[in-house]
Symmetry: C2
Subunit: 205 residues, 2 copies
């Protein structure tokens, strides 16, 4: 992996999309909340930011190792007898610096790949029925995501708050995500009504 400090910053020219060292910084971010194992981090992903970032456990474990070899995190083994041992990671001072640097660096221009929209774009090639299936299942997925976020919100309310400032921003992102999903739902429902409208003309290919 490329060392995380001393970023070459690849010219910024046409760079887009995920990748280029975001995951390792996110791991630093999690370890900034409290020391964790790779397993903890995976479950934390799923219970917090999974809707806009996630990683497989294999990627998390290897990235933690790489961060350790760069000196940004340090680990110790917690021995357990009834369960597998845990390798607990925490930030080093260099890791804290790297985290603060990332947080203050501007977010590079990006776009998010969305296969759903890409497919819909070409749906003039197929029948209305197919398009409506895509819209319907998208609507369903949006509703499921909204339910999932509601669950996360409930969890937040029942959790002891050690650092309220951390919580404030986590809730801000939650609000953001919820609002955009609600907008998404509204537009999708509108599109479905439009396609179902009997006064519309063409329908087959």
């Amino acid at each position: 992996m490329t060392p995380i400090d001393s970023q070459p910053i690849p010219d910024r020219g046409t760079f887009h999309g995920a990748g280029r060292g975001t995951l390792p910084r996110i791991l630093l971010g999690f370890l900034g909340i409290r020391p964790m194992t790779g397993y903890d981090i995976k479950t934390t992903f799923d219970r917090s930011i999974a809707s806009y970032w996630n990683a497989s456990h294999s990627q998390i474990y290897t990235t933690l190792r790489a961060l350790e070899s760069e000196g940004l995190v340090a680990s110790e083994i917690i021995y357990q007898d009834t369960r597998p041992n845990r390798r607990l990671y925490q930030l080093t001072q260099a890791g804290e610096r790297a985290l603060r640097t990332w947080l203050s660096d501007p977010v590079p221009d990006r776009f998010t790949k969305d296969e759903y929209l890409a497919k819909l774009f070409f749906c003039g090639e197929c029948g209305d029925k197919t398009a409506l299936q895509h819209l319907d299942s998208h609507l369903q997925a949006v509703n499921e995501q909204l339910n999932h976020l509601a669950g996360i919100r409930r969890e937040y309310e029942h959790r002891a708050v050690r650092r309220p400032r951390l919580l404030e921003f986590q809730l801000l992102v939650l609000d953001y995500k919820e609002a955009t999903l609600r907008a998404d739902r509204e537009i999708t429902e509108q599109a479905i009504r439009r396609l179902r409208d009997p006064t519309r003309t063409a329908q087959a290919i």
Copy 2:
């Protein structure tokens, strides 16, 4: 590349994210509109779906070659004297079938990685000033994207329509994207007001 028909469909379990043959299908989609060169496709990306999918020219060229070796597209060279020659691609019958198959296949569960939200999530670790910078520049980026979409919309209006059904869905996606961006703008402005609110308590780390 894995052959595009006869998809193994990798278990659907935890799969998320971009990848797994979306780009080649999108290329088939573009060639379904009209025969194009790699260069044409790149400019079409930028003028149509760039905000939810894009690819570098190198990836487009190599993927077109791969599609040709699978028999889904065919190419011929257009010789030019004052400009470099063009390699014009068009769908084969197998390619048309593969396109229709993709269009009717359900979109797999997915999430979109968003470094901006991931960073904001951890912004409790840094000062309000830094967080506000991120929100401000996000707002600016959203406005630029809205302007860009307005330009695309104007282009659509001045274009001869050969296949109105294709246009209908392209406009549907455009409407969708515009509406979500407007919602995004609203929430971001609201978050900025909230952080700037002088009755708020904590502000430094």
